[in-house]
Amino acid sequence: MKAVASFGIVNADTSGPGAFLRAAKWYWDEITDMFPAAGFSSIMIPMVPNTENVSRNGAPICTASIRTRFGSPKGYLSYLNDKGVENVEAITISAQSQFNSLFETGLPIEKFFDEFYDHAADTVEALQELKGSTLLVSPTPGIGFLNQTFNGDENQIEKFLADAAQCMNRIGANCRKNQINLAIRNEYWTLMRGTGIDAFMKIVDKELVSYAPDPAHLHIAGADPDAYFKKYAGQAKAVCFTDTKFVDESDVYKTISPEFPQDGRLQRVYYDLGFGDMDFEKLYAILKEADFDGPVILDSKYSLDIPKGILRMRTFWNNLEKNYAAKEVQ
């Protein structure tokens, strides 16, 4: 297994002292140095569609910002190599961020999947130059957003889901042509949340599309992470490790703010790896048993203390390996 550290540890869309500065290149120069300093030579980057406002900043948040600051993805790889990062193993794109961009682009929902495919194709091209292996894709926007867009019309939402499957197949075909693996994620607010992934995997072409399980998202959606890691480890091209203590007590997954619960006792979804309730030792053992040899995306998403969070991520992975080895000896 290959530990891949996620840049998703930085919430570029948050508030507080210095939050505004997360769009600056100098900020990322320093943060990037911290990953190899903590022993990570491979990274995953979450990317959003190219729009003017994000393209001009210095965060590696979209392919356009990389092209603006480094000339090309190849130029960015050279910069990363100088810092001790060997490659960008994976990039994540999501239909939710594509949906969010509709406000700024003014595009109608009817053009959604054509735009999303173009976004994916552009990302695959960058991923090749960045010596990556895997495109991670979250296939639909949140249930709350779709209910709002289609006024709760289930037929239209079902059609949207079928279109999402078709789009994943198209993206998968393009990935295969470019020697990139496509792995989909099922975040807890999407149409294939939790156990819904089973039905979705039946309507996509399994030769082109794989599933990357993530314990936090499965758990929040009420599915058993152990069972799903066992079921899907064999086909997985990548897996994601995200930690949580969150319990969806008020069906926040249906709202238009699922990742930032607005009401209730619990509002914080993500925790630094090892600081939530997920049992990663069990999941690690399941992956070992299945001879999984791909990238494990370590995603201490939206850490509240990023430098500390990066070091915590290294401690987390060291402990997983050490404890597994100790049990093997027993």
Binding site: D13, G18, K25, R56, T68, E104, G106, L266
Partner: protein
């Protein structure tokens, strides 16, 4: 409210993007991390920081509209929530017209701006503050036709605003495709019946303009302000025209709270007095590493330096 000619409103972008309406449980954000995240992630506290410092108005960014609607359900709910916390008016919204030099992009810009105008009207706003074109890098310099298209785009959006009882104003960034060499020409190409000007003191000074001369000349058009200071007036073309010029690669800070740089705000307030300016004055402090410190320093500067001249 005290009877004043001018009141102050604060652009909220110095905080970043605020995702929560109200965070309920301190311990959820503190235990295990032992940091201050709890204090800075929700509108509840941030609005109270502004009101606590004596600001009665705020401005928002157009990019915030989706997350505000996600958090509050509607802009009207947001307005009421802000009022309960001492913010009497959501005065303005910043937006942009990227691609406006090409007429073919205008329908998309109008569709996008209609959403912004509707959102601003719903929360009782006054002024849509617009960056008239994209960044200079990759777009400028604009030819005559391009500049004319940018002006026409502003005029149309001005009329759209007027239909909703709002005003539109030009906000000219130092890194915008409309720049030093066509700044006043562009202003004069727009329709004075519909298009006003929002003088961002630092942006215009960095561009190389004398802000006192500009205001004195165009005071009838300059109905809105973004007050911020700078230590870097008249930046050379290569600094302003570079890729992503507003985010300096080495981290140099362009913008400061009033009094933190070299701009002549006393002179500007004397001119406001001369021209009997009335209305909301916007403060913008994008780029500060410490929003609370900047907000309090700004209020102290207003109380001790600006109010004695004109208020």
């Amino acid at each position: 409210m005290e009877n004043r000619n001018i009141n102050y409103t604060y652009m909220t972008n110095l905080w970043g993007n605020i995702n929560y309406k109200q965070i309920n449980n301190f311990n959820e954000w503190y235990m295990g991390d032992f940091g201050s995240a709890y204090y800075y992630q929700d509108w509840d506290k941030i609005l109270r920081y502004f009101a606590g410092a004596g600001f009665k108005g705020i401005e928002i960014m157009v990019f915030s509209v989706p997350s505000i609607v996600n958090a509050f359900g509607s802009m009207k709910n947001f307005k009421e929530f802000a009022l309960e916390r001492g913010i009497e008016r959501i005065t303005g919204m910043f937006s942009h017209h990227v691609g406006s030099q090409d007429k073919r992009n205008h329908p998309d810009i109008f569709a996008y701006e209609q959403q912004a105008i509707d959102a601003l009207a719903e929360c009782g706003g006054i002024n849509l503050i617009v960056q008239p074109a994209g960044q200079y890098y990759g777009t400028g310099p604009l030819d005559e036709e391009g500049l004319k298209n940018v002006a026409e785009c502003m005029n149309t959006v001005g009329r759209m605003c007027a239909e909703k009882g709002l005003a539109v104003s030009i906000h000219n960034e130092f890194w915008c495709a409309v720049n030093k060499y066509d700044h006043e020409k562009f202003l004069e190409m727009t329709d004075p019946n519909y298009v006003y000007y929002c003088l961002d003191t630092a942006q215009v000074a960095i561009m190389g303009k004398d802000i006192l001369h500009f205001y004195d000349t165009y005071h009838d058009r300059v109905q809105y302000f973004h007050i911020k200071d700078t230590t870097y007036v008249n930046a050379p073309d290569e600094k302003r025209f570079g890729a992503g010029a507003e985010f300096d690669e080495q981290g140099a800070r362009w913008f400061w709270e009033p009094g933190g740089g070299v701009l002549d705000f006393k002179g500007l307030w004397e001119l406001m007095k001369k021209h009997n300016h009335k209305g909301w004055i916007g403060i913008e402090s994008d780029g500060t590493p410490d929003p609370l410190a900047t907000i309090l320093l700004t209020k102290n500067y207003i109380d001790t330096v600006l109010d004695p001249i004109y208020k």
